[in-house]
């Protein structure tokens, strides 16, 4: 396998806030080793919002959990992986030192606002706990900060809401609670794992707007993990597309939407409903992500790709540098002429027509 490129496209001399290099998170199960994250490298600069996209099972959530070292057995971050954050290597930190990073310098907003909150404590209590742990604030001070945070997230009647339990709040309000909890210590990086997926559309827009607004005010960086390219278009400046445990394309948002390079990105964009474009039905990418215990050799997207040729079966594509900070893990980078000859993907041929 070709070694992945080190670092990324930080133009200045300043080191990026977060720099992930060759991250491998494997799950050692009875059915074999699931290589959920398999050599992922990327960076996030100070104050930047980076989108991490891919469909379910591509490894984006495991990547997020790996950054916070929240991987549970049988999962393991393999030796040789590196996560540098604020100049410190996180993967070799002691558990006690890592606790000082979690919720303090790097915070996470989880996907399911219902199950991510503890049902037996008031939300104010759960937010205040962050300050009580990290800044040893008194009970009263921590509570005051928690209420102020809730207010910052646009929670109506924050003082009363702080005294309520999660089941008494709506989904949108619970997500605000999780965001308030993440922002409590003014972290340098917020990892938001599908923060709007469980919410209905109008609330989604509000939450995204809230995150963007809070970022402008606090200057925090955000790693926005989602399967929804619409969310990326609204929030991120740069996108990382993941497929089958690998980064397959990296680009600034504009060029990616205008001229996607990797066929997988192309498929994701074609599968996305867009205003002003009449089409009878959305295109779907045929087939599914292969099981992580058994990645195909060569290009992992080959079976679902409409351009694949024999080179894709034999040679695992490296992350080709396309210039202007763009990278793509597709042999089309060196044989662009192939794009003119699309064919039915193997996965579509295998399935009998309905």
């Amino acid at each position: 396998m070709t070694p992945p490129p080190k670092g990324a496209d930080a133009p200045g001399a300043e080191a990026p806030l977060l720099s992930v290099t060759d991250l491998r998170t494997y799950f050692h199960t009875n059915n074999g080793v699931a290589r959920a994250v398999d050599g992922v490298s990327f960076t996030v600069a100070q104050g930047e919002t980076v989108g991490l996209v891919g469909e379910s099972g591509c490894g984006k959530s495991v990547t997020a959990l790996s950054l916070m070292r929240l991987i549970q057995s049988p999962g393991r971050i393999e030796p040789g992986s590196s996560v540098r954050f604020e100049g410190t290597e996180l993967l070799t930190l002691s558990e006690a030192d890592m606790r000082r990073v979690r919720g303090n310098r790097m915070a996470m907003v989880f996907q399911e606002p219902m199950s991510a909150l503890n049902p037996v404590f008031t939300v104010g209590d759960q937010i205040a706990e962050v300050a009580r742990i990290h800044s040893r604030a008194s009970r009263r001070d921590a509570w005051r900060q928690a209420v102020a945070m809730l207010e910052l997230t646009g929670m109506p009647a924050p003082e009363q809401r702080a005294h309520e339990y999660p089941h008494q709040l709506s989904g949108g309000m619970r997500q605000r609670v999780l965001i308030a909890m993440a922002l409590m210590m003014n972290p340098a990086l917020i990892v938001a794992d599908e923060p709007t997926t469980a919410l209905d559309v109008t609330i989604q827009a509000q939450i995204l707007e809230l995150l963007a607004d809070l970022q402008r005010r606090t200057g925090t960086s955000i790693l926005m993990i989602t399967h929804d390219l619409g969310v990326i278009a609204e929030t991120a400046r740069r996108v990382i597309v993941m497929y089958a445990g690998e980064v397959v394309e990296q680009s600034a948002v504009g060029p990616l939407f205008a001229t996607p390079h990797h066929p997988y990105t192309e498929g994701l964009l074609a599968a996305m409903p867009r205003m002003g474009r009449r089409r009878d039905r959305l295109r779907v990418i045929p087939g599914t992500v292969p099981p992580p215990t058994d990645w195909p050799t060569g290009c992992r997207f080959r079976a679902r790709c409409q351009y694949s040729w024999d080179r894709c079966a034999n040679e695992h594509p490296p992350l080709y540098d396309l210039g202007d900070g763009r990278r793509s893990r597709c042999h089309l980078a060196v044989e662009p002429g192939r794009r003119a000859h699309p064919h039915e993907p193997l996965a579509a041929q295998a399935v009998p027509a309905r």
Partner: protein, 325 residues
């Protein structure tokens, strides 16, 4: 929340009355009555027995007898114990505190130890410690209480002379000064309480372990870790509070089991409590006393589950809302 508690108090009262009814009518259905033994006695004429029956009201229909029993019981009059020659309420009044002391000690210790053990096991699930503790608690859990009581009595009291063989206190010490008296009481309490504690702790530990293991993989536990909390705080504060509800339910169930278990244990250790009273009253066909014991037992069980319900409300905020609606 308040109305929810009130309705449960009413439920508990209904349960107590039902227990009284069952106790009363089952005993009515049994052949004979407290005067039956006299029929065999040649020096007592049948006419005298009949007259005495009429005087005591045993010739009235069962339903009428029950109503008069319930109305008297409501006023604290549980009838007269023929075998002991004093009012049932006085007999029970003397025995009940001893049983409550034994049960209270057993519940307090077994739940404290059982919860601690279960949490420690769940936090180290799969380790040698966990497996060994599981094996031991399964073994204890499957022992019959009278057997365990006898073994403890024979070994710890009979062979090793570490504890007194039974009774409530040493007669010589019974009227001495406070501290001495307290230690003597404690010494006598140890073995019967230990028997009940060993049996109950095992169940509590198994329950607590399972409940915590079920909570630990939940999302909010991961959120707690992501906040930067120590594992200790994550397990003991965030996870354990959620794994407490099954234990509260178990507490409600443990009370009746302990009342039943106390019958054997009190018998083995000559502990002058309700359990022994039940056995005595059956041996002597003292119906009034037996009915009274069953009624008090029923009230204890109902009160226990009421207590468990109240605790559940305190432990789980979601139940509070369910009651408000």
């Amino acid at each position: 929340m308040i109305s929810g508690l009130v309705s449960r108090v009413v439920q508990a009262a209904v349960v107590a009355i039902l227990v009284a009814a069952v106790a009363f009518f089952v005993l009515q259905a049994a052949p004979g009555d407290p005067l039956s033994a006299l029929v065999e006695n040649p020096s007592v004429s049948p006419a005298l027995v009949a007259a005495e029956r009429a005087r005591l009201g045993y010739d009235r229909p069962a339903a009428v007898q029950f109503l008069s029993y319930v109305s008297a019981a409501a006023g604290g009059d549980l009838g007269y114990s023929a075998s002991l020659g004093m009012p049932v309420s006085r007999v029970i009044g003397a025995a009940l505190p001893h049983t409550l002391l034994l049960m209270g000690t057993a519940i307090l210790v077994s739940f404290a130890v059982g919860i601690a053990l279960g949490v420690a096991q769940a936090a180290r699930a799969g380790t040698v410690f966990d497996r060994a503790a599981s094996a031991v608690s399964l073994f204890l859990h499957s022992l019959p209480e009278f057997w365990l009581a006898l073994v403890l009595l024979i070994v710890l009291s009979g062979r090793l002379h570490l504890f007194p063989g039974g009774g409530l206190e040493t007669l010589a010490v019974a009227h001495s000064s406070g501290w001495h008296w307290f230690l003597d009481r404690l010494h006598h309490l140890a073995l019967p309480a230990l028997t009940l504690v060993l049996l109950t702790t095992a169940g509590v530990a198994r329950f607590q372990r399972a409940a915590l293991l079920e909570v630990l993989p939940r999302d909010f536990v991961r959120t707690a870790v992501a906040k930067g909390l120590s594992r200790r705080r994550v397990v003991l504060r965030h996870a354990w509070r959620n794994a407490l509800l099954p234990i509260v339910t178990l507490l409600g169930l443990a009370l009746p089991a302990l009342v039943g278990g106390a019958v054997f244990v009190e018998q083995v250790f000559s502990w002058p409590g309700m359990g022994r009273l039940v056995v005595t009253s059956i041996e002597r066909r003292d119906y009034a006393l037996l009915t009274g014991c069953l009624l008090v037992g029923g009230v204890l069980v109902a009160a226990g589950s009421l207590l468990a319900d109240a605790l559940a409300l305190a432990v789980d905020p979601r139940q509070r809302r369910a009651n408000r609606d």
